[in-house]
Symmetry: C2
Subunit: 129 residues, 2 copies
């Protein structure tokens, strides 16, 4: 059975993909896939998407190294949304936040609720020489 | 600040909403909201969506009782996806599964990975009379 035969792509040939952290279910991002992106994800085991702005297939982390190894693939009751559970390397968001959903709306204000991820440089344990 | 002023709705005036369980982050469903659905969600504290098939506003659980009390509202880096963290009553899915994502695709097969939710009828503890 082919996954792409089960799914209902929209009139642009796309389907939304919710990507979450396999280990704690944190929602990392929402992106879109076309048939080719789904097939490449299945074939390689790494999340591929279709960029609507650049109008092309892309592998998540191809340049940043922040890849998403797919651990589980789910789809919803209407077969029109995918859910990838992934092992996320580093930040899923181009802003260096772990998740693209790093801001909340609370009582009329926008608040950042997540730090950016930075490489630990060991400063805390540096001793004077 | 108005949430609807921050968000970028698509050319149909819609934005995808990922809805997750506030307590364990399980993804429950993906639906769409228009400006009115967002405003009604903010005003009432309960998740409202816009049905693309019925072309109308609906409050989740209005007939089933399976309401979603919103605990937290997040949005993504592009401001084109919403994330509601909710207190879900009963099943989020019309199939009586807790989540609409109750099926996985695994090695060419589709598998149900969640039971349906049924009201507990106390049968286990019934004693013969």
């Amino acid at each position: 059975m082919n996954l792409t035969d089960i799914l209902k792509l929209d009139d642009r040939g796309l389907i939304p993909v919710i990507t979450v952290d396999f280990y704690n279910n944190q929602v990392l991002m929402l992106a879109y896939a076309n048939r080719e992106a789904i097939e490449m994800s299945l074939k390689t085991g790494y999340a591929h998407y279709f960029s609507r702005s650049r109008n092309k297939l892309w592998m998540k982390g191809e340049t940043s190294g922040h890849t998403q190894k797919i651990k589980q693939i789910l789809f919803d009751c209407d077969e029109d949304t995918l859910l990838y559970k992934v092992e996320q390397k580093g930040a899923a968001c181009h802003t260096s936040h772990r998740s693209c959903f790093y801001r909340e709306f609370y009582r009329g204000e926008v608040r950042e609720i997540e730090p950016v991820i930075e490489d630990f440089d060991g400063i805390i344990y540096k001793t004077e020489e």
